[in-house]
């Protein structure tokens, strides 16, 4: 698809396919169009030309609410939580949404075991269960990020789009977080993960496929080993050859 | 034809006053992002002080034709209350705009009673004084010269503001701050002083408007809280934060009101509110404003 902002072409003929079971990383220098791509993919922006389909359904510009209902969820680059709610409540919002209980205006939330269990399960997967009663704004920055992603997982989406899931996290903790994410995805039944990432170690360590963007175009779309061997991509996107790691 | 001219002139007269108050509202909102509910109260204050000043001056021997002098001096002088109120607002600049709005409401409450306390509740006016300038015939309709003076004053103020914003250093700072507060601060603009100056300017425009309207009506106890809704209509139609919007909105509201009064008096304010709602429905940013949050 293409996306134009006035005269400026942010996405110029980007084609992308994600299948169930895949972990796809989107990489590229700043200004390559990654954010625009995410916004178009998640229904925030309609493309100027082309189409976006999810499970066969056209999702161009349908907006985050309807998209989440269809099974495509997204986490944000900047930590986005509900500051005054407790960690448990933050996740419960997603569970309530998933179970379509938002309409229940007279039932007691505190006594809803199913919602609580669903939320606690997610909190445990993300190692946040012991802080369930802490107001979200009081959590450490890294925990806030985890909570943000956890609440997205609590929707049990089919496909999840993570916008820089390890940004703002110290290098030491990045792998830990990725392990949690991947394990949680398996437990929750998420079929595919798409992430935008800058950290090449993470990208090469976890991806089934890497899509490299540059100036609104797809430079390469292949398995990590192929990307690593492609010097043009490496130079353009990474700037230096990546360390050789086992997949 | 006479009727049309009458309506047009009375509409433009009202528009001139509305413009002054709305311009005050706009400049404060544009720079400080505060919707000053007390702008109507400042208008009322200007009116009351204006009447007092004129009466005092006349008692002291001032010849009647010079009454506009104490009037304008009073109108502008009362703006001294601006820095006082701004000092209060300073406490809540970093808070949610709800609190800023409520603080201006607190000022409304206080000023309502202050005017009652000082001037009582019965209408307070300069009587037929403004007719000392006589009336003139415009296209068949008779209009007091004073009204034309006010319309002229409105135009002059509009032009002055436009010049100030475009040509003076202060105006540049105002425009820069309105567009990007952090950036302005980063390049060394003294925010505190700018805010005080802008708020005082906004207040002064309102109090001047109140003073100028006085000769043709009376200062009355509800005039402040009545006016805020018209001022709000002006800035919605014209667009929040825009000076040109203040002119356009004021003309729209002034003329509509004059038209309604002449044809269906019951619909007077109803029509205005309906237009406000229609504008918000169909073009929320008004004629010249920025897109609403």
């Amino acid at each position: 698809m293409r996306k134009l902002y006035g005269d400026f072409c942010a996405l110029n003929g980007v084609s992308l396919a994600v299948r169930a079971g895949e972990f796809v990383s989107i990489i590229g220098p700043n200004g390559a169009g990654k954010t625009t791509l995410i916004n178009v993919l998640t229904g925030h922006l309609p493309p100027t030309a082309g189409s976006i389909r999810f499970n066969g359904r056209d999702i161009a510009g349908i907006g985050p609410v309807r998209l989440a209902r269809l099974g495509l969820a997204r986490s944000f680059q900047l930590v986005s939580i509900f500051p005054a709610l407790t960690a448990l409540e933050v996740v419960e919002v997603a569970v309530v949404s998933r179970l379509r209980r938002g309409r229940r205006w007279f039932a007691s939330l505190a006594r809803d075991r199913e919602v609580e269990r669903g939320a606690v399960e997610i909190l445990e997967l993300f190692r946040l269960a012991d802080r369930r009663a802490t107001p979200a704004r009081n959590l450490a920055q890294g925990d806030k990020k985890l909570l943000d992603v956890a609440s997205t997982f609590a929707l049990h989406p089919e496909l999840i789009l993570l916008d820089e899931p390890t940004s703002g996290v110290s290098t030491r903790d990045k792998t830990g977080i990725m392990e949690i994410l991947v394990a949680a995805a398996k437990r929750v039944g998420i079929k595919a993960i798409v992430q935008v990432e800058h950290d090449m170690d993470i990208v090469f360590g976890y991806s089934d496929r890497i899509v490299a963007l540059q100036e609104g175009r797809v430079l390469a779309d292949a398995a990590p080993a192929v990307i690593r061997a492609d010097e043009a991509v490496v130079a353009a996107v990474v700037g230096r050859p990546p360390a050789v790691r086992g997949d | 034809m006479t009727d049309v001219v009458n309506i047009a002139l009375s509409g433009v007269f009202h528009a001139a006053i509305l413009f002054l108050v709305a311009a005050g509202l706009q400049v404060i909102f544009g720079v400080q992002r505060i919707f000053n509910l007390a702008c109507g109260s400042f208008y009322a204050l200007g009116a009351y002080v204006g009447v007092s000043a004129v009466r005092w001056a006349l008692d002291a021997g001032l010849p009647p034709p010079y009454f506009v002098l104490p009037l304008i001096v009073a109108g502008i002088g009362v703006a001294a209350i601006g820095p006082v109120v701004e000092r209060l607002l300073r406490f809540v600049y970093d808070r949610d705009e709800t609190f800023q709005l409520l603080l201006t409401f607190a000022v409304v409450l206080m000023l309502e009673d202050v005017t009652k306390l000082v001037w009582g509740t019965s209408p307070f006016s300069t009587g037929g004084l403004y007719l000392v300038y006589g009336s003139v015939s415009v296209l068949g309709a008779t209009v007091p010269v004073y009204n034309l003076v006010v319309i002229g004053a409105g135009i002059v103020v509009a032009l002055l503001i436009g010049w100030m914003l475009a040509r003076t250093r202060f105006g540049r700072i105002v425009r820069a701050t309105a567009e990007n507060r952090e950036m302005s601060e980063a390049v060394g603009v003294n925010m505190r002083r700018v805010y005080t100056q802008v708020f005082t300017l906004g207040t002064g425009l309102g109090t001047l408007g109140g003073a100028l309207v006085i000769p043709s009506t009376a200062a009355m106890s509800e005039m402040g809280i009545d006016l805020i809704v018209e001022a709000f209509a002006v800035v919605v139609i014209g667009g929040l934060g825009s000076m040109r919007g203040a002119v356009a909105g004021a003309l729209a509201v002034g003329l509509l009101r004059a038209l309604a009064i002449a044809t269906y008096p019951e619909l007077e304010m109803l029509l205005i509110y309906l237009i406000v709602i229609a504008v918000l429905l169909w073009r929320p940013r008004g004629l010249f404003g920025e897109a609403p949050a």
């Binding site: 985050p64 509900f82 938002g102 997205t152 | 709800t98 206080m110």
Partner: protein, 323 residues
């Protein structure tokens, strides 16, 4: 547990009050009961959903005028029917008004609701053939629970029969509101208040929930208005004026919008303090304006935040203080 005891004590005191206090003070509580209902509704929208309405006087007036029209024009005197009608009328107005208003936030929402309230005010004032204009409309004493108390003298009716009736209505509506804010719906509202974009990302239809909260809060305001009408026996356009809305917000803030009972406390303090001040000098607005300024600047969490009671169920949007 302690909170339940306090609540029980308060209710017991309220029930005993007419037996010990003078009729004047007991009648005064009637205004408190009515306004408490209104601000409970207002706070659902403000404290829980994050939308500040400066136009809730609209729904209060709708409720009050419904009571007037029913009792004095249509001869319907059953208070239950009046309350139901007021609720329906407020809902009927709130559905279209809310649909329009919730598309905007913050200042625009506040100003838009203010405009609607003033629209109704102008209508009430100008169309005097229908509404009685400036003089308003009479409210005939209603029958409570289908019992006619016409034989009872007015002060006794108000300070006893109507007192307990109003208190009961407040209690019922308070319990309902408590359930609402503690429900999954209430959770979604708080999420929307805290971060609308995130709420949307979690598949919560922000506009639709705001609209629902708007309608519920309007119904509460309407019922409160209808309950208020018989206490004075007269309704007038001033009920819809925007400064009346401002007072409602004042009460909510005074008590504390981050606590469930905060607005109720605020209404209580406001009404009784207003009465005290007015008996000393006619310039209550000056005093109250200063109080509001002080609350906004120094105690934004309201009176409840001064007691060291930690907010339960609702941890409100605290004002961002200077870093």
């Amino acid at each position: 547990m302690r909170q339940r005891l306090v609540l029980g004590l308060v209710i017991a005191l309220a029930l005993l009050y007419p037996l010990v206090a003078s009729p004047y003070y007991a009648t005064h509580m009637l205004r408190f009961f009515a306004y408490a209902i209104v601000v409970l509704g207002l706070n659902l929208l403000f404290g829980y959903t994050g939308l500040l309405s400066f136009g809730h006087s609209l729904f209060l007036a709708v409720g009050a005028y419904t009571a007037a029209v029913l009792t004095s024009q249509l001869g319907i005197r059953s208070m239950e029917v009046v309350l139901l009608a007021a609720a329906l009328a407020s809902a009927a107005v709130a559905v279209p008004v809310g649909a329009l208003c919730v598309r905007y936030v913050r200042i625009y929402f506040a100003m838009l609701t203010l405009a609607f309230a003033m629209l109704f005010y102008s209508f009430l004032l100008k169309f005097y053939h229908l509404t009685g204009g400036d003089e308003g409309m009479r409210v005939v004493r209603p029958a409570l629970l289908f019992v006619d108390f016409d034989g009872v003298p007015k002060t006794t009716f108000l300070s006893h029969h109507y007192y307990y009736y109003s208190a009961a209505v407040l209690l019922v509506l308070a319990v309902v509101m408590w359930r609402v804010v503690g429900s999954p719906f209430g959770l979604c509202l708080r999420a929307i208040r805290d971060n609308p974009e995130k709420a949307a990302a979690l598949a919560v239809s922000v506009t639709r929930y705001r609209w629902a909260a708007f309608v519920v809060s309007a119904v509460y305001a309407g019922i409160g208005g209808a309950l208020l009408a018989p206490t004075t026996g007269q309704v007038d356009p001033g009920l819809a004026y925007w400064t009346h809305s401002g007072n409602l917000v004042f009460m909510t803030l005074l008590g504390g919008f981050t606590h469930f009972v905060g607005p109720v406390v605020g209404a209580f303090v406001f009404i009784h303090l207003q009465d005290q001040v007015m008996s000393l000098l006619p310039y209550w607005r000056l005093v109250f304006g200063a109080i509001l300024a002080a609350v906004v600047i120094f105690v934004p969490g309201g009176l409840m935040s001064l007691c060291s009671i930690r907010p339960r169920a609702l941890r409100g949007r605290a004002p961002r203080t200077a870093a």
